[in-house]
Symmetry: C2
Subunit: 119 residues, 2 copies
């Protein structure tokens, strides 16, 4: 990435919910954007924390013991090994940061499991 990234412009290029796309890298970490609408799948990442920053909308990260509700300008890091399931009522735009090779559905096989694609 040798140019700046305008998040709003990049979000316009996304094809639909739960189809994350890579917009850059920081060392061996990928910067991804994703549209969230509806419920994702319960999963966990045994080897990495999971960073969520809401850019627009409202994201609920369900944990087994509570919900974390994020509005625009709010972030949360799901610790490694902690089961979580994101959902949003209305279309919500999220910036994700995690190591390259991290599968979006973690330890869960799902039709929502995505390939790593740049945008």
């Amino acid at each position: 990435m040798d140019a700046k990234v305008n998040l709003a412009e990049k979000f316009e290029l996304l094809v639909g919910p739960y189809a994350p796309r890579i917009i850059g890298f920081v060392n061996d970490y990928k910067l991804q954007i994703v549209k969230v609408k509806g419920e994702f799948v319960w999963h966990k990442h045994d080897d990495t924390d999971d960073f969520f920053l809401v850019v627009k909308g409202c994201l609920t990260i369900q944990l087994r013991d509570r919900d974390v509700v994020l509005n625009a300008g709010e972030l949360f890091v799901v610790p490694k090994g902690v089961e979580h399931c994101p959902w949003a009522d209305e279309e919500t735009l999220v910036l994700l940061i995690e190591p390259r090779g991290t599968r979006n559905t973690g330890d869960t096989e799902s039709p929502l499991t995505a390939t790593e694609l740049e945008i």
Copy 2:
């Protein structure tokens, strides 16, 4: 970090420009916020890329061959080894992501060199 972070609330706690504070971690990376006003110092990080996301205001990242101007909602990653010098005319709020132990002034000794402090 077991609670969400509201960036605007955290920025209110900062004491002044170029005094970064850690608001969380993703594995061995620190999430930092900083107020920028005026010019920083020219420096580089030989071992890491350097992530900047502007939350409010306008940040210019001077490179030796060009300027990268970031408004709110725009991000840029300075590649490792590339000299840069941030500056802002008006107070600007920035989210930074880099490995723990990364010195804010990189290879440059400066009065602006900061200790890693959480907020």
